[in-house]
């Protein structure tokens, strides 16, 4: 018998540890789930902080902050249902109360019988990220996107930074999931710095592996041709010409493909339908406002929603409605600007916030309060938010702008430490930046952090950003990918990818910097040398080879002779296997690893050489090399490479007709794989 709780569109099933919204599972961390369960079980009553912490953390001493983080995650998840219901109320200084009506069921099995929460099977495929906050005030634009995509195959969303194009595109994608048999796929171009890789990044987002530059487009076309899908290409502005070319070709060749692009400017491709994403509507000045009248403006609704999420008991009332309206007008209804301003309500009243905002704009407009171009409004507001940060927060934000895509806390802490932000303060500082909407925290087993694109570009433009941060970033990822390569040997691949795959954007950023004129070729060569497994596991052959070639070209100018020869072998790793040069290079690399005293890597390349040599007509030489390899690999314990080596030796014995030994070696190989596989169960 399982316990199930129904509230709004949600269903929480205790023993399955599952939260469903409209029948669809919501990703929620273990702790956040426990906090929610504790709150729901006490619905209507006050749950004190002490009670919650005792129940969820069971004897582990944690800071109150941790609870706060999970509660704010829950607010976002519950708020994302968009049903306008209030679920959680903060009781100042004491705890929280779950205030929505809850229906309890003792048996989860009849859950669907009452028809309240129909299970919606997700048949469509895609890669859209989950959204934590609700989209407010863009209903009309959303409806227009749907209507246009029904008749057009290319729709572009244009608009200035911070207006919410990305958010809108993803929301539209989610809305249209059922309309495309092969799903909705998002290619995010913001982290892309190299215009030559536009096709590669789009292909990667679609799960299409490319093998060479010449055939890239043809491969992508043949993969997409039979598909009925919607491709969302987000943040095209910095590579717009390449995107335009790609889009034109794909649409011509793939009859059932539709594309939704987002960009600050239009693609200027024939058959493009441009939708300009407007700022949110704001209340007109000079009219008498009631809260109800003010809520007719989307900007006010957004302000109210985000203020409510703060959990400081904000309500829109006749006393503050004028000030709220004035703030929304001042910020031109730009969603990001509103999200940056609202968190200040933690420390000031609405009226104080209104006055505080006058200052940055007064400087810009010489006090005339005339309208600014939207882009400058946002810029001024980011400036204002930045100036209000403490020094460590500023340093951390600038550090964060060195990263691309999302980043783990561990990586951030390592680099922050080098710019005098103590690593034990990083989590608190991140939380504080997240509360100010300057950083987005992404839920998951391990939280990752990401800067909104407008903020990242701003922070990188600060004079404090420079080579120091870029170098620290590259140095850190040399170490992280060296660890990743070592961990790959003893970790099941799925788990390994969960841990490291998201860092591929950072790998690209580090390589790009290292091989730039301000960079450091030696660091770049190290990065390439340490990231082979990552490229291989992600199937990014084309990009892998590109970096190897670049590293090889740079190695001539440096003194890294040893590294260059290793790379020569690694280059062989992406070449024809039966090429005799491959064996020669592998043996050469083995010699270098021996000089460096790296027995495991020496064994690994000998295994490579040995398997390439081994054939039914040439058993002895291959087997001898494999035995050498085994002796070097074995001391490292149960690794994937050891299992491969034992398997190769089993084959050698089978060729020799020695079945007894072959079986014994094969059994050892299987046992080794089993041991590596057990690592999955122990960490799950």
């Amino acid at each position: 018998v399982s316990e199930a709780f129904l509230f709004g569109p949600f269903r929480l099933i205790a023993d399955r540890r599952e939260l469903l919204v409209h029948g669809v599972p919501v990703t929620l961390g273990q702790r956040a789930f426990d906090v929610l369960l504790a709150l729901v079980r006490r619905h209507g009553e006050l749950a004190t902080k002490d009670e919650l912490m005792a129940e969820v953390w069971r004897g582990v001493i944690v800071e109150e902050n941790s609870l706060h983080v999970h509660v704010s995650t829950l607010r976002k998840v519950l708020g994302a249902a968009g049903d306008g219901q209030r679920y959680l109320v903060t009781v100042a200084g004491r705890g929280y109360r779950f205030v929505a009506p809850v229906e309890c069921k003792s048996d989860g099995n009849d859950a669907h019988a009452d028809g309240r929460v129909p299970a919606v099977p997700i048949l469509a495929r895609g890669n859209l990220p989950q959204q934590l906050t609700s989209l407010i005030g863009q209903e009309a634009t959303l409806a227009e996107i749907r209507a246009r995509l029904a008749t057009r195959r290319l729709v572009s969303l244009t608009g200035s930074g911070g207006v919410g194009k990305t958010r809108l595109a993803i929301e539209a994608g989610n809305m249209l999931l059922g309309e495309y048999g092969d799903g909705v796929w998002l290619a995010e171009l913001a982290p892309l710095q190299d215009r030559q890789l536009v096709t590669a990044v789009v292909a990667d987002a679609l799960g299409v592996s490319l093998a060479d530059q010449q055939g890239a487009m043809a491969t992508l076309i043949s993969a997409l041709k039979p598909k009925h899908l919607l491709l969302i290409i987000d943040n095209c502005e910095h590579v717009i010409a390449e995107v335009a070319r790609l889009v034109e070709t794909l649409l011509r060749q793939c009859a059932r493909l539709s594309i939704l692009a987002s960009s600050r400017e239009r693609l200027a491709v024939s058959a493009e339908y441009v939708i300009r994403v407007p700022s949110l509507a704001v209340p007109e000045a000079g009219t008498a406002l009631t809260p109800a009248r003010a809520r007719e403006s989307a900007a006010v609704r957004l302000f109210e929603d985000r203020a409510d999420t703060l959990g400081h008991g904000f309500t829109l009332d006749p006393g503050n409605v004028e000030a709220v309206a004035a703030i929304c007008r001042r910020l031109d209804g730009i969603p990001l600007a509103i999200e940056l301003a609202v968190p200040r309500l933690r420390i000031m009243s609405v009226q104080q916030l209104e006055r505080a905002l006058d200052e940055p704009f007064a400087i810009l407009t010489s006090g005339s309060r005339t309208a600014l171009p939207r882009q400058r409004t946002l810029q001024a507001l980011i400036d204002w938010s930045y100036d209000l940060l403490t020094d460590p927060e500023k340093r951390l934000l600038i550090c964060l702008s060195a990263f691309l895509g999302s980043t783990s806390l561990e990586s951030i802490a390592t680099i922050a430490a080098s710019v005098n932000v103590p690593s034990n303060a990083v989590a608190d500082l991140l939380l504080s930046l997240a509360e100010k909407s300057l950083v987005h925290a992404e839920p998951g087993n391990e939280s990752r952090y990401r800067l909104p694109e407008s903020i990242r570009l701003y922070a990188r433009g600060k004079p404090e950003f420079g080579t120091v941060q870029a170098r620290l970033h590259a140095e850190h990822f040399v170490v992280r990918f060296a660890n990743a390569t070592a961990a790959w040997e003893t970790t099941p691949t799925r788990e390994w990818l969960d841990r490291y795959a998201d860092d591929v954007d950072n790998l690209r950023a580090a390589l790009r910097w290292a091989f730039s004129p301000d960079g450091d070729d030696a660091l770049g060569i190290d990065l390439v040398g340490q990231s082979h497994v990552m490229w291989a596991e992600l199937g990014l052959i084309l990009e892998h080879r590109r970096w190897v070639v670049e590293a090889l070209s740079k190695s001539k100018a440096t003194s890294c002779g040893a590294m260059a020869r290793l790379l020569a072998w690694q280059a062989g790793d992406v070449r024809q296997l039966d090429d005799p040069a491959d064996i020669k290079e592998a043996l050469q690399a083995a010699t270098i690893f021996r000089t460096l005293g790296d027995a495991f890597q020496e064994g690994r390349v000998l295994l490579r050489a040995g398997t390439a040599m081994l054939s039914p007509d040439n058993i002895d030489e291959g087997e001898r090399t494999l035995c050498e390899a085994l002796a070097l690999i074995r001391p490292a314990g149960s690794t994937k490479t050891l299992a491969r080596c034992l398997g190769a030796l089993a084959s050698a014995r089978l060729f020799a007709g020695d079945l007894k030994q072959a079986r014994s070696l094969h059994e050892q190989a299987i046992r080794t794989y089993c041991k590596v596989g057990e690592n999955l169960e122990s960490t799950e």
């Binding site: 990667d204 799960g207 299409v208 592996s209 093998a211 060479d212 010449q214 055939g215 491969t219 993969a223 039979p226 099941p492 691949t493 799925r494 990818l497 795959a501 291989a536 596991e537 992600l538 199937g539 052959i541 084309l542 080879r545 992406v574 070449r575 024809q576 296997l577 039966d578 090429d579 398997t611 390439a612 081994l614 054939s615 039914p616 994937k640 299992a643 491969r644 398997g647 190769a648 089993a650 084959s651 089978l654 060729f655 079945l659 072959a662 079986r663 094969h666 299987i670 794989y673 089993c674 590596v676 596989g677 999955l680």
Partner: protein
């Protein structure tokens, strides 16, 4: 009854499942030595798909099917990963594209040595590899 179809994911740690399944499936009607060679060939072929063919952030499904007929076992290995043709080995000219390069390591030698037939086909978005092994000591009437 042993099902004649196994689904694996692109992870080397899946290989023990394949080994156990092949052993169980072949137990009744294939001579132990032939069964062992066949198992090793299949494992190498699948390992190559995992290492060089299926590499992708996405989870790739590899299905293995065995069909027993009198005097032979036919294995069909299919996956929805990138194009990967393990039979294209030993091209005399250097490969012009990487698509068909990087072919199987041991797999190709083992299969050439022990299989009586080997065919690769790219069917839609799937790689389909067919291997046929002659067996001795098959029991008449077994149909899988």
């Amino acid at each position: 009854l042993i099902p004649n179809r196994l689904v694996l994911y692109n992870d080397l740690v899946e290989l023990p499942r394949l080994a156990r399944w092949v052993e169980a499936a072949m137990q009744r009607d294939v001579a132990p030595d032939a069964a062992f060679a066949l198992a090793l060939c299949l494992e190498e072929a699948v390992a190559n798909i995992i290492m060089y063919g299926a590499a992708s952030n996405e989870r790739v499904e590899i299905t293995v099917e065995l069909e027993r007929t009198v005097g032979a076992v036919t294995a069909r290995i299919e996956d929805d990963g990138r194009r990967f043709n393990p039979t294209a080995a030993r091209q005399t000219s250097p490969p012009t594209s990487l698509v068909d390069a990087k072919v199987g390591e041991l797999g190709i030698h083992l299969v050439r040595r022990f299989a009586s037939d080997m065919q690769y086909e790219r069917r839609g978005e799937r790689n389909c590899l067919m291997l046929r092994f002659r067996t001795t000591g098959t029991t008449a009437g077994s149909n899988g």
